[in-house]
């Protein structure tokens, strides 16, 4: 099945109309030496029926574990997704459209993304947002790219950031010939003294994540002060749900806020598609990569939305463009917008509070079971414990009970996560299992 509607008869008519005896005539510019005539080695010659494909993929889906409870985050978080979110975001007019180049026929997509930009600015407390990039990690890397200048070629990046994000930053810095300087951590947070000593007149920016990889809330104000004292920029990597509670990047003086929008109504999906969001202060708007939607009027004075500031982008600026991004994550941005509108300020506040409260309860219970906290500091919905026994044993016991435990990290430590879906009952159940494998607990 190739989804080609034309019948054999119609194809013949069309071939005749264009003066071709057969398809070979259409490919006469392809030199015979490079023509492909063989069969594929990994693709069956004939396609499968719809039933067979569904069956085969259903079988593969069944080979993934689906956990009743997930206490693992580390950059991908299970939250409740209200039913209306996928129902609206997956409307086929949105799903099967492309970049809204033609404003008159694309007001729906344009307005939705304008609402997305407003939502991201509301959460981060910044002036402007773009229409999304690939994920939180590339958002961080693109943020660094925004800050690089001729005589400021280094980025000081806190080691407390998510290692997945760090690895992408490293790749981009290598590409852009920017120097990547890692700032060490102290007690699970960015070592501010070390940071102050690493930031200087060559520093383009400081990147730090809060809550950081260990779940701890960093001192955004202090980091901003250190960066700004050297006239460097501060890029804050943030969890959007946490911003319902905690000070915003805008409030603590960041120049750019980036992060992954996955917690905002986007399923785990084995790592993608997710959503990279980026927002910044007014003075950096023209450095933002990718699409930006603006409000204007049509020729009759009616409110209208358009792609704007396009002269920043690759299709106009070509080799002078700061980024080559073209296709983004628009549908995920739409889902995040609908999610935030569905929850509203109160709903998002409840999700954040309950995630934080559940994590605090989990932490307290684990502590009582002999899991010492690895670090002091205020945490949002993730935290690290030291295992009183082999962490693999603990996680295996949970696994066999249908629970995905925290992420094992170095030194027999576990990074735990709880959200609003990890209820008190779930946590009590987890603790019972954990206690059963700890000697003398």
């Amino acid at each position: 099945m190739s989804y080609v509607p034309s019948t054999a008869r119609e194809r013949e008519q069309m071939l005749k109309a264009v003066g071709a005896a057969g398809y070979d005539d259409l490919y006469k510019d392809v030199p015979p030496e490079i023509a492909f005539r063989g069969d594929y080695s990994h693709i069956a010659k004939e396609g499968l029926s719809e039933f067979e494909v569904k069956d085969r993929l259903g079988e593969l889906a069944a080979r993934n574990r689906n956990y009743a409870a997930i206490f693992r985050g580390a950059g991908a978080y299970r939250h409740h997704i209200p039913s209306c979110v996928p129902h609206l975001a997956m409307r086929s007019e949105f799903v099967t459209a492309y970049t809204p180049y033609q404003a008159e026929i694309s007001q729906g997509v344009l307005q939705a993304i304008f609402e997305y930009q407003t939502t991201i600015c509301a959460l981060t407390g910044m002036d402007a947002s773009n229409a999304s990039v690939y994920d939180g990690a590339t958002a961080a890397a693109e943020g660094i790219s925004m800050c690089l200048e001729k005589n400021r070629r280094s980025a000081v990046v806190s080691q407390t950031a998510n290692p997945g994000v760090l690895s992408v930053i490293k790749t981009y810095c290598k590409a852009m010939d920017a120097e990547l300087i890692l700032c060490p951590e102290k007690n699970g947070v960015t070592d501010l003294e070390a940071l102050a000593s690493l930031v200087n007149e060559n520093t383009a920016c400081v990147y730090a994540q809060t809550p950081n990889f260990y779940g701890i809330v960093e001192d955004g104000e202090a980091i901003a002060r250190i960066a700004h004292a050297a006239k460097a920029r501060f890029i804050a990597g943030v969890n959007p749900i946490s911003l319902a509670l905690f000070k915003t990047p805008g409030e603590y003086g960041a120049d750019i806020a980036v992060g992954d929008g996955q917690p905002l109504g986007i399923p785990l999906s084995f790592g993608g598609p997710y959503l990279g969001f980026m927002s910044c202060r007014k003075d950096m708007v023209r450095k933002l990569p990718g699409r930006i939607i603006g409000q204007t009027v049509d020729k009759e004075g009616k409110r209208a939305f358009v792609l704007t500031l396009q002269a920043r982008e690759q299709h106009i600026r070509r080799e002078k463009a700061l980024s080559n991004i073209c296709t983004n994550q628009a549908l995920c941005a739409l889902a995040a917008t609908v999610y935030c509108a569905a929850l509203g300020p109160q709903g998002l506040y409840e999700v954040a509070c309950q995630s934080m409260a559940n994590a605090a309860y989990l932490k307290e219970q684990l502590e009582a079971a002999g899991f010492a906290p690895a670090f002091p500091g205020v945490v949002f919905h993730e935290f690290v414990t030291q295992c009183p026994t082999d962490s693999a044993k603990v996680l295996a016991a949970l696994d066999s009970n249908g629970i995905l435990g925290g992420l094992p990290i170095d030194g027999n430590r576990i990074l735990w996560c709880a959200t609003e879906v990890n209820t008190k009952d779930q946590i009590d159940h987890l603790i019972r299992i954990v206690r059963s494998v700890i000697p003398h607990a």
Partner: protein
């Protein structure tokens, strides 16, 4: 198309006006602004920047195009025109008043085009 006689020009459509005392003003020509259409943004290098001929002074953006502005000569930027940065449309309404930068220590103006030569150039391009 307006091509004043008292200025010198480049093939990339900048004009330069040598002032008394040897400094020079640089802008873009009437032809260039028309090709770009409405200019919406101007970004210029900083004061104190030393430029060689063909070095980048900055760029001007319209909605659908961007054009890099190159220095016609060697020189040092002593002033940038904040007024044009604040109101880029001045480039469209009065391209020869809307200078972008003032250069000192100007060198290399011999190789530039006269008004007549520039007029021929744009005649060919059109």
């Amino acid at each position: 198309m307006n091509v004043p006689d008292n200025l010198l020009y480049t093939k990339s459509h900048e004009w330069i006006k040598i002032l008394e005392g040897g400094n020079a003003l640089v802008g873009i020509t009437d032809y260039a602004q028309e090709q770009l259409s409405d200019v919406v943004f101007v970004s210029l290098c900083g004061e104190g920047e030393k430029l060689s001929a063909n070095g980048t002074i900055g760029d001007v953006e319209s909605i659908k195009a961007v054009s890099e502005i190159k220095s016609p000569v060697d020189g040092t930027v002593v002033r940038v025109n904040q007024g044009v940065m604040d109101d880029p449309a001045l480039i469209n309404s009065a391209p020869y008043d809307a200078w972008l930068v003032e250069l000192s220590g100007v060198k290399g103006e011999d190789s530039l085009l006269s008004a007549k030569a520039y007029e021929e150039l744009i005649g060919d391009e059109a």
